[in-house]
């Protein structure tokens, strides 16, 4: 595939390194001369010097034949501009946008960019998982209001020994999978018994995550 990365910072350069390794054709558009030089020095002649939000630079990068465009600069307004021109002007099939400030997520979503990467949100989620016992958010499901979350049942949880039917689950929540040590993954039914150390994968909505955690682990 031909992949254009706009922005040659840590994210763009790291992605370029991996994508070249995987055998893809890669172009990194970078507006800082020293950074572009350093990329060419490390990865071969893959960097194009220029402002990747400018359409004439995008044309020079061959955006009309790109399979994927990744807008990964450190500025959200530039990433939005790149994503919108890639889609509107060059009909790129897959556009991925990096979001630096999580408060900008709604505008990217509203404008139809569902393939977004937000390092800040990922780090904040990771910290929240470490702080809040028992719940790990696995992924925000694309273009829906649902998240996939994983829970490990503590040995002293009130639900140990109960069946799924007895659980006080919040609305819009489904237990999708139970994984037990040394056992096959199982799709839980109403009569499935919950054991200590069970790993439960559930689909829920972000606003019900705390209620789900309470139901499964007994912890607020």
């Amino acid at each position: 595939m031909y992949i254009i990365l706009v922005g040659g910072g840590k994210v763009g350069r790291g992605a370029a390194r991996d994508l070249i390794e995987m055998g893809h054709e890669v172009c990194v558009v970078e507006r800082d001369g020293n950074t572009a030089w350093a990329i060419n020095n490390e990865l071969g002649e893959v960097a194009l010097l220029g402002d990747g939000a400018e359409i004439h630079v995008q044309r020079a990068a061959g955006m009309n034949r790109a399979d994927v465009v990744v807008a990964c600069t450190g500025r959200d307004q530039a990433n939005l501009a790149v994503a919108q021109t890639a889609q509107t002007r060059f009909n790129v099939a897959k556009v991925i946008a990096r979001i630096n400030d999580p408060r900008n997520e709604p505008i990217f979503q509203t404008l139809g960019f569902h393939y977004t990467i937000s390092a800040t949100t990922a780090i904040v989620n990771a910290i929240e998982q470490e702080v809040s016992a028992g719940l790990t958010r696995l992924t925000q499901m694309r273009s829906t209001a649902f998240v996939l979350a994983e829970h490990v049942i503590p040995s002293l949880a009130p639900c140990v020994g109960c069946t799924v039917r007895d659980l006080d689950l919040p609305p819009h929540t489904v237990l999708a999978l139970i994984i037990r040590k040394d056992d096959e993954p199982e799709i839980p039914g109403p009569n499935t018994m919950i054991h200590a150390a069970d790993v439960i994968v559930a689909v829920t909505q972000p606003e019900h995550e705390s209620a789900l955690r309470l139901a499964l682990t007994g912890e607020h």
Partner: protein, 141 residues
């Protein structure tokens, strides 16, 4: 009318002063406090320091209640993002963006944004000034 202007440079400050004198409620946002020096002392509107494309700065500046939002900062990317945040998040009824790049201006027009493109306007005016005015019989070129 309630008008929020992002960017207090030559254009933003000129419009802000004119609209203020005409009796409109004007709020001007700029990332640089020094930009407000462009406004004269008799400006009675509100000045706010902040990034005008920021959803919360717009909220604080009253974009949700404003009749018009004008993005007149220097960067095309920032102006384009700001008007789209105003239009799609704050449901601003009327937004205008200054976009210098004619090609990008076309892209945003296609996306339903009111765009003013100084480059094509000036291009036309320079042509007229250079070639048309002194040629009464219209033999331009």
């Amino acid at each position: 009318m309630r008008v929020v202007i992002m960017g207090c440079g030559r254009l933003g400050s000129t419009l802000a002063r004119e609209l203020d004198h005409e009796g409109h409620d004007v709020t001007v946002i700029d990332i640089d406090a020094a930009a407000f020096n462009w406004l004269e002392d008799d400006f009675t509107g509100i000045t706010m320091i902040g990034a005008g494309e920021d959803v919360e700065v717009q909220q604080a500046a009253g974009v949700p209640e404003a009749d018009v939002f004008l993005a007149l900062a220097n960067g095309d990317n920032r102006n384009a993002m700001a008007v789209q945040v105003a239009k799609h998040i704050h449901r601003s009824p009327r937004v205008v963006a200054r976009i210098y790049d004619p090609e990008r201006a076309d892209v945003y027009r296609q996306l339903g944004i009111n765009v003013v493109n100084p480059t094509t306007i000036l291009d036309q005016m320079v042509r007229e000034a250079a070639f048309a005015i002194d040629e009464p019989d219209g033999a331009a070129g």
